[in-house]
């Protein structure tokens, strides 16, 4: 076995990463490029997306600005793509809202981004036959709403639970096309999604103490799990939720 032996390599694969202008998506795009993939990055903020593009290693990467809740923009994005071997559906947003304040409008605004956008993007990619045989699709879900039910996290958690459910339906149906579909379900990760919101810095510090590994995750902790699911090392893995959470749901 040579030093280059690497069953997790993404060499020869083209991978689309949404939410690539920040946090987990940005780190995933960078790590995918380091593993040899050609990466297509997408998000709304042009400056931050360019920043991601500039950090990708190797050649052949590209970026596409899109508001994923807009059908025309989804269609343009899909139209711009030739063929993919991997998709990471990472764009998403958070919300803290106790149940009595969780109006229909709040569910709509979260479900648009966290559920309908990635599902519609995947639908278009499948329908337009943009996914090569043996492709891998990874949704970035959450432990929230699936294994963890923190107070005030219902709207967000429900959107992720819906995503987890659709992942399994897609895994079963798309297996006929040899497309694998999985999720990663992170615990709390240090990104701007959890900073400066209704939960104070001090409350986060107390929450961290509940983690057996005594820290929140970093974006690369999640990116490495995504790489496993994109790589041929996980060829026999589909319909699975990979929990990456420092042990908090034990």
């Amino acid at each position: 076995m040579g030093v280059s032996y690497n069953p997790f390599s993404l060499e020869g694969k083209t991978v689309l990463v949404t939410g690539a202008s920040s946090g987990i998506g940005q780190e995933t795009a960078i790590q995918c490029s380091k593993m040899g993939a050609k990466v297509i990055v997408t998000a709304r903020n042009e400056d931050r997306l360019k920043e991601t593009l500039s950090q990708l290693e190797g050649e052949g990467h590209s970026m596409f600005i899109a508001e994923l809740t807009q059908q025309e923009e989804l269609e343009k994005l899909v139209g711009s793509i030739n063929v993919l071997n991997g998709v990471v559906l990472c764009a998403g947003k958070g919300m803290t809202s106790p149940f009595p304040f969780s109006t229909r409008g709040k569910y709509d605004s979260i479900f648009e981004v966290n559920f309908f956008a990635p599902i519609e993007l995947l639908r278009l990619l499948v329908k337009k036959k943009k996914l090569e045989k043996d492709s891998s699709v990874v949704f970035v879900s959450s432990i929230g709403g699936v294994d963890s039910f923190q107070m005030g996290n219902g709207v967000y958690g429900a959107s992720k639970a819906a995503l987890n459910s659709m992942m399994k339906f897609c895994a079963k149906e798309l297996a006929a096309k040899k497309i694998r579909v999985n999720t990663v379900n992170p615990g709390m990760v240090n990104t701007k999604l959890i900073q400066g919101g209704a939960i104070s810095e001090e409350q986060h510090k107390m929450d961290m103490e509940k983690y057996p590994l005594k820290r929140y995750g970093e974006p690369e902790d999640i990116a490495y799990g995504i790489i496993y699911l994109l790589s041929d090392a996980s060829s026999w893995v589909t319909g699975h939720s990979l929990v990456i959470d420092g042990g908090v749901t034990i």
């Binding site: 809202s97 304040f101 400066g196 919101g197 209704a198 104070s200 810095e201």
Partner: protein, 77 residues
Amino acid sequence: MKTLEEFVSLFAEQFDETDPNEITANTEFHDLDEWSSLIGLSVIAMVDEEFEVALKGDDMRSSITVEDLYNKVLAHL
């Protein structure tokens, strides 16, 4: 614009066990028996609904009295 008095009563509405009359502008709310992180989140959500101001968790923490919090809301308007 809602007055301090109206704010105090909206604040008091977030509690279930505490007598609303017990809560005044000068109440040091973190010391109330019923105070909890969920009530804190409810106060933030109430402020968002009534004032369209997104208070941060750190605003709650650094406020001692109900009036302090009202002033934070005014500062964000």
